[in-house]
């Protein structure tokens, strides 16, 4: 496995990084989070122009045709700036799932507007438990009732991809989020940079022959989307941890106590060094996982690298956000300073795509349990 990055790969990350450093600096990010419901529409448009919404979408469908390595490099920049855009939800999760269905007709319809950023698509990832949906057949139609308590990016998105139970399999239906009977309500959210909404479906009609996929093909695509999105989320968390480290080192360099900068105290230097250890190890894990994804082995062989990225990045983000608050001292507990925003993101992320503990248990089963004959 070769972990060298090419010049092109660095350039992609740099160009997104530069855009975000300007458009999603602390003030910009806070404006989008607290005044615009966590969606920066103008930033999203700029990202679309840069091709950032089509990083790993095939060129035939209007994307750049790149791989997981480029995705994680870009994701780290999003995490670092807590950019208020539904990139993980629409591009990574929905995009990967749609592409993995392996249906040219579906891909040709859905991927081009997704890759340009014109169309934002989301998926319910089961963040909060809800009652099962009720689905009735009415001739060629399905009628869906129920409440999805916490759907990411549901306010910014135009479509929701919804796996709907039908007999003993599931069918993937696309729900127009402004269709009759669909009601969206923003949820109060401590992680204001990543909005979540409740979506109520009241007798929503979809045509059953408009099903995007069903059965094994659907489940495989959902699994693939979840695996890759978990690794990309991990990279965002590396960005979260890195930014907390940088903020902390900068703060300690300028804050003077006992007549000298705090950065000169060995106890504090070691704390920062330990943060860097966590960040770099997590970054190595994410890059290694991305390389394995790019080698495209079967999903069974992706569980371990995805678990690695997920668990190491979770640890780095938990640790570095906690330390950033602590090492900023009193101001670390104020609304005005940024560490709390990262701290909240790091916690919110733990519930996405399964907790780190769930991933570990899944891996433990593959390592420790006898394979049934």
């Amino acid at each position: 496995m070769d972990l060298r990055l090419t010049e092109e790969q660095r350039q992609i990350a740099d160009s997104i990084g530069q855009l975000l450093a300007h458009a999603s600096d602390s003030a910009g990010m806070r404006r989008a989070a607290f005044e615009h419901g966590g969606f920066d529409a103008s930033l999203w448009a700029q990202l679309g122009e840069l091709g950032a919404c089509g990083v790993h979408i095939a060129e035939a469908h209007g994307g750049l045709g790149l791989g997981a390595t480029e995705l994680v490099l870009v994701a780290e920049e999003f995490g670092r700036r807590l950019a208020c855009v539904p990139w993980l939800e629409s591009v990574v999760l929905a995009g990967t799932t749609l592409a993995a269905l392996g249906d040219d007709r579906v891909a040709a319809h859905w991927l081009p507007p997704l890759a340009s950023g014109e169309q934002i698509v989301t998926l319910d990832i089961g963040l909060a438990p809800g009652a099962p949906l009720s689905v009735r057949r009415e001739g060629a139609d399905l009628r869906i009732d129920g409440v999805l308590p916490a759907v990411p990016a549901a306010l910014a998105a135009r479509s929701l991809l919804l796996p709907v139970p039908d007999g003993n399999e599931r069918r993937l239906m696309a729900i127009g989020l402004d269709a009759p009977g669909v009601l969206r309500r923003a949820r109060e959210n401590h992680d204001a940079t990543r909005p979540v909404a409740e979506v109520s479906l009241q007798n929503v009609r979809v045509r059953s022959d408009e099903c995007l996929a069903h059965g094994a093909a659907l489940e495989r695509a959902l699994a693939r989307g979840r695996l890759l999105a978990a690794a990309v989320l991990a990279s965002e968390l590396v960005g979260v941890a890195q930014q907390c480290l940088d903020l902390t080192v900068a703060h300690l360099a300028q804050r003077v106590q006992f007549g000298k900068p705090l950065a000169t105290f060995q106890a504090l230097k070691h704390r920062c060094a330990t943060m860097m250890v966590a960040v770099e190890l997590a970054r190595s894990a994410v890059l290694g996982a991305a390389r394995t994804f790019d080698a495209q082995p079967d999903d069974a062989r992706l569980l371990r690298p995805a678990t690695m990225a997920r668990c190491l990045a979770d640890e780095a983000a938990q640790y570095c956000t906690q330390e950033a608050i602590q090492l900023h001292g009193g101001v670390g507990f104020t609304w005005e300073f940024d560490p709390h925003l990262y701290f909240k993101r790091a916690q919110a992320a733990r519930a996405w795509f399964g907790t780190p503990g769930t991933w570990r248990e899944q891996l433990a089963a593959s390592l420790l349990d006898e394979v049934a004959a």
């Binding site: 230097k269 920062c272 770099e280 190890l281 290694g288 668990c311 420790l368």
Partner: protein
């Protein structure tokens, strides 16, 4: 390069190991080497010679010095397959991977002709004479003295923590050659024969109960006047360059050794039922993925080294390498002891349990030697993060 590359070369290493690590060498199979009480050094030296005959010593050395000049990525493959095949810890490691590259970089042609062949053939073994009772983390406080009398260096002083001195033929010694010099000035790197009247080697008993390292006393010890590496007075530069060679391909061999230990732990946990404990399952899975991450980090470091030979500042991932693997192994040692339960401290005949007990105790040294945790954190903070000294 993907994991599938070098498939032919992998098969070659595997086949050779299978054909040669047998018969008289069977007792060495999967022995850790340093600090493993099952390790028979006499047999290990014969094994080094067997490897040498197979052309497996110095695989990364340039051809002009008798090596195979394999690219870094292929050396990594060799180390991985070697360990996976049960290859034991390498007695020749210090000579092959630390001293030899330094001799190539700083040695005279005469020194190269004299010392490289013995290392390559597995007939001459080397020890490292750096630490002293008052120069541990503070290495620049070296007090061992060397003076040139005619065409002979005379050495007085004491080195400590000297691994395998009792099994080695030569030692490279950092000594003070300019009386009254301070810190990293006025030092010389000398190549000194260990088997002589002026050298006394005293084993130090470790927490494992074994004695893998030693105190080495120099009392008018002698070496030839030309056996200094680099110029007298510039020993610090040479000593630091040598440490630079320590971060290298062998880390991947070490990694493969950890993977073997992990497999051993899983086997024991399955056998004794610990594998059903939900908390232990979490800990084992976390250890497994962190081990994978160490591998990714090592590959990142190697990718850097490969891409930018020389002159490039050490990368961030390289700064954390020693800290992360040693702390992983210490945690792993504790996990291993917990998997063993009472058998951690009540030895039995089970060879797997024996290996885990060895790791439990030996891993306590990992976070101390080759730069303690605390020194590593200083380096990270000051050099990688640029915090003030």
């Amino acid at each position: 390069m993907s994991d599938l590359d070098y498939a032919g070369f992998r098969a070659e290493v595997r086949a050779w190991m299978q054909a040669h690590l047998r018969g008289e060498f069977e007792p060495l199979r999967a022995c850790g080497g340093l600090g493993d009480s099952r390790y028979d050094p006499k047999l290990a030296k014969r094994w080094e010679q067997e490897l040498a005959r197979g052309g497996w010593v110095g695989v990364g050395w340039p051809k002009e010095h008798g090596g195979r000049a394999l690219p870094l990525s292929q050396q990594v493959v060799f180390h991985e397959e070697y360990v996976r095949a049960g290859g034991p810890g390498r007695l020749g490691h210090i000579g092959e991977t630390l001293l030899a590259p330094t001799v190539m970089a700083f040695g005279t042609p005469a020194q190269q002709r004299r010392f490289l062949p013995g290392i390559l053939a597995g007939t001459e073994y080397w020890a490292q004479g750096y630490s002293e009772p008052n120069a541990g983390s503070d290495l620049a406080n070296v007090q061992t003295r060397a003076r040139l009398e005619g065409d002979t260096w005379i050495i007085d002083g004491q080195k400590t923590w000297t691994s395998w001195a009792h099994e080695s033929d030569w030692i490279f010694v950092v000594a003070r050659c300019e009386p009254g010099s301070q810190r990293h000035h006025g030092l010389v790197m000398l190549l000194v024969p260990l088997r002589q009247k002026g050298v006394t080697i005293r084993p130090i008993r470790q927490i494992t109960g074994d004695s893998e390292f030693n105190e080495v006393f120099f009392d008018g010890a002698r070496t030839e006047g030309e056996l200094h590496l680099g110029a007298p007075g510039e020993g610090w530069k040479v000593a630091m360059a040598l440490l630079g060679f320590e971060r290298g391909v062998s880390t991947l061999g070490q990694q493969a050794g950890f993977e073997r230990e992990m497999a051993c732990l899983i086997e024991v946990a399955r056998r004794n039922g610990v594998a059903r404990d939900p908390v232990m399952r979490q800990r084992i899975a976390q250890a497994a993925v962190t081990l994978d991450a160490l591998r990714c980090n090592a590959l990142r470091v190697l990718a850097q080294d490969d891409a930018a030979a020389g002159g490039v500042p050490v990368s961030r991932e390289a700064y954390i390498a020693k800290y992360v693997w040693s702390n992983w192994r210490r945690d792993f040692g504790r996990l291993a002891a917990d998997v063993l339960g009472a058998a951690a401290t009540l030895p039995d005949d089970d060879p797997l349990a024996q290996q885990l007990r060895q790791v439990w105790l030996f891993s306590r040294s990992d976070t101390i030697y080759a730069g303690t945790n605390e020194i590593q954190l200083n380096l990270i903070a000051e050099r990688a993060l640029g915090m003030p000294r």
